[in-house]
């Protein structure tokens, strides 16, 4: 073999990179899942939500979420047309067991399901001092619970209040967008359990995903767009009073 010094110098770093990825191994499950083919988000259709709490219970079951902590929850807004900036918001036990019956009055009511927005430029991942939380190559904000120190910087950094410290594991915990399900071709537990289709998992890299047709034909907004977090939980029919 005849290698010039120039060729050797080009080959060495390439070989080092290749060897690193050999050492790193491959993710354990979902052999047919290619991360670079997906960019996950969620569509939340507010006019369809009936506040039944199915999503909250399904999430708790699927992900062993501790009581009185939530990866997803539902809020009920009660807004008067004169004072939009001070809505009356309730979320009894995250809406897990539904909501008290509302009597019609001169204000408007609606439900808003909340969850991690899986931001593309998420503030929560930027503040982690140890690299325990990150945006995966397919756009899901995850927590490496073996690496997390439990310092809760990320809990404070999330503008949407979507993180908590797990009471027994003492590490940050949050919505994984049911990563263990979506990598197998299933939808998330909350979407599976939603009886009205108010929540729909969206793959923004899949040109055949109905999300594209929906986004083209509806006025869709994200929460707190002024934060420029690149949020990927898209809300249809989002009222200006929602915070």
């Amino acid at each position: 073999m005849n290698l010039s010094r120039r060729q050797l110098l080009i080959l060495l770093p390439a070989a080092a990179v290749a060897w690193e990825s050999v050492l790193a191994g491959t993710p354990e499950s979902a052999p047919n899942y290619k991360m670079t083919d997906h960019w996950w988000g969620m569509l939340i259709d507010i006019p369809k939500c009936i506040g039944c709490g199915n999503c909250v219970r399904a999430c708790q079951t699927e992900n062993d979420v501790p009581d009185s902590l939530f990866r997803t929850w539902v809020e009920r807004y009660h807004v008067s047309d004169e004072n939009m900036t001070e809505p009356e918001v309730i979320s009894p036990d995250g809406g897990k067991e539904g909501f008290p019956v509302a009597q019609a009055d001169d204000k408007k009511y609606f439900f808003v399901p909340k969850m991690c927005n899986h931001c593309a430029h998420s503030p929560c991942t930027q503040v982690c001092p140890v690299g325990a939380t990150f945006v995966s190559p397919d756009g899901v904000v995850l927590v490496d619970q073996k690496y997390c120190l439990g310092c809760a910087y990320c809990v404070q950094a999330c503008p949407y209040g979507c993180r908590y410290i797990h009471p027994t594991k003492k590490v940050a915990d949050k919505c994984t967008l049911c990563y263990h399900r979506i990598t197998q071709g299933l939808t998330t537990a909350c979407c599976e359990a939603c009886p009205t289709g108010a929540r729909q998992l969206a793959d923004l890299k899949n040109p055949n995903d109905p999300i594209h047709a929906f986004l083209k034909t509806h006025s869709v907004q994200v929460l707190k767009p002024q934060m420029a977090t690149g949020a990927k939980a898209f809300y249809n029919g989002l009222d200006g009073s929602v915070r």
């Binding site: 790193a24 354990e28 699927e62 990150f134 490496d144 990563y179 399900r181 599976e192 009886p195 009205t196």
Partner: protein, 161 residues
């Protein structure tokens, strides 16, 4: 070499620095996980670990694989868009091992959870006051949950509809 005359102490320090740096490299090699930095400033293997968590909701496609008759009935009725586990609960265990029998949901709780009338619900969603509407009768007297239109046998209500 008069420049390095009386400079032995500098070489000893330099040697210590090189040694400390080598120790740092060795420790780093063992302490930093192999997959750290594979995709970014985090442990790449964590992604696989999170993806390997167990599934609790089997997904409606699993259900429909066996329960074709129930699925056909449901998909022809008004509950077509409601997935099986929205009412029946998480049943991946049952899907993996059909000998594990699921508990039938209680319709008194289940129907009311969605269909109890409330001014907060979208107007187009079918809703009733359960007390006034059913007058104490269980919902399935008149409505079959898989196809909730008014097609229950008349014997259930003593002929009244």
């Amino acid at each position: 070499m008069s420049v390095f005359k009386d400079a032995g102490h500098l070489f000893r320090f330099a040697g210590l620095f090189v040694l400390a740096f080598l120790i740092f490299l060795v420790v780093r090699h063992y302490v930093v996980p192999k997959s750290f930095g594979q995709y970014g400033h985090y442990r790449g293997a964590a992604i696989g670990e999170i993806a390997a968590r167990p599934v609790k909701f089997a997904g409606h496609e699993s259900c429909e694989g066996c329960h074709t008759d129930e699925a056909a009935k449901k998909n022809a009725g008004k509950h077509a868009h409601v997935n099986c586990e929205a009412c029946h609960g998480a049943l991946a265990q049952h899907a993996d091992d059909p000998s594990i029998k699921p508990v039938l949901p209680d319709t008194a709780v289940l129907c009311a959870r969605c269909h109890t009338a409330s001014a907060a619900k979208p107007k187009s969603f079918p809703q009733v006051d359960p007390v006034e509407h059913a007058q104490g009768l269980p919902c399935e007297t008149c409505h079959q949950p898989h196809s909730p239109g008014m097609d229950a046998p008349k014997s259930n209500t003593g002929g009244a509809k």
